[in-house]
Symmetry: C2
Subunit: 190 residues, 2 copies
């Protein structure tokens, strides 16, 4: 999956940007080629097909989220609640960034609803991975159902991501923080 040539790298960068901003289905390979300043064949020298390019794009989008979990763990060791808050804050901050257009993985799943489609499969698998990592972060908390809390927080984040595309980014970011805090507290009290 590693793209070696510089041309391939540029194509891939342009594709990621366009896929995220306009959606995978909405972007044609001709547009990617034009904005990359290369011919279409150059794209197919680095990638088997548009589908594989999309899959590669999806895979790359998951990395930062995973890194945040590690960062949170490193930032507040031995304080699981602070770690959780750290992660939620990072997600809320990302929402507030200009140009934010929701979670690329979730968007990909919506664009390709067929669960057997390679793009959907890839995005879904990465989401499941992420959920599991989130659950591990929640696990040390003194709560009765950490798995449940993790799933609810994940849902809340997903909701904030989508709401940003429909309503307001600031409102969604603030609501995410507050709702997550309330949810966590409701699990901690007793």
């Amino acid at each position: 999956m590693e793209v070696r040539s510089p041309t391939g790298q540029r194509v891939w960068g342009v594709a990621c940007d366009l896929f995220y901003r306009e959606g995978i289905r909405a972007v044609g390979v001709a547009e990617i080629a034009e904005r990359s300043g290369v011919g279409k064949p150059s794209i197919y020298r680095s990638f088997e097909s548009k589908e594989q390019l999309a899959v590669t794009y999806v895979q790359a989008q998951a990395a930062p989220s995973h890194a945040w979990l590690d960062a949170a763990r490193a930032a507040c060791p031995d304080d699981p609640k602070a770690q959780l808050r750290h992660v939620i804050d990072a997600l809320a901050d990302r929402i507030s960034e200009p140009g934010f257009r929701g979670c690329p993985l979730a968007n990909a799943c919506v664009e390709f609803p067929d669960r057997d489609h390679p793009v959907h499969r890839t995005a879904g698998a990465l989401k499941a991975e992420y959920l599991e990592m989130l659950a591990e972060l929640v696990a040390p908390l003194p709560v009765r159902d950490p798995q449940g809390l993790a799933y609810m927080l994940q849902m809340l984040v997903e909701g904030a991501n989508v709401s940003t595309q429909i309503f307001s980014a600031e409102r969604s970011a603030a609501a995410l923080k507050e709702a997550a805090e309330r949810l966590i507290r409701s699990f901690m009290d007793r």
Copy 2:
């Protein structure tokens, strides 16, 4: 926007089904025509364009959600908390139904990220309407920030809808109910 002819009605029904199940961008007018048992020109006798057909589809999908709010109001008059629970339960039940594929309005916004696109505009406006109606339902509750609670609940529902497409429907439905309950309670206590 009213479709009068029986042919138009059938086309519209088929289009709604396909748009919801496979996505608006993924479905071509030729497929709609074929599955409706009519020629393509018959579609354009009832609808100006595919875009207008998509807008009509989006508009129709909002009606049931609006009806649920009224139903909840009628089912438990003078008990706003029960009304809220009623609505959440209805949304959770819909998630559990086979063939559920998330909120058609939210999906449309993801498929057409450009906020000026007619489909996105229409879906967004209806979502805003719905949020306002939800806020009116929450308003009578003895809480400090009913607007905030309404927005968080909306986010939670959105998250459950998306999570259903990525993870499991049952898990999302259950988590939606529990998280909503916890959120509401956290606003009511004190």
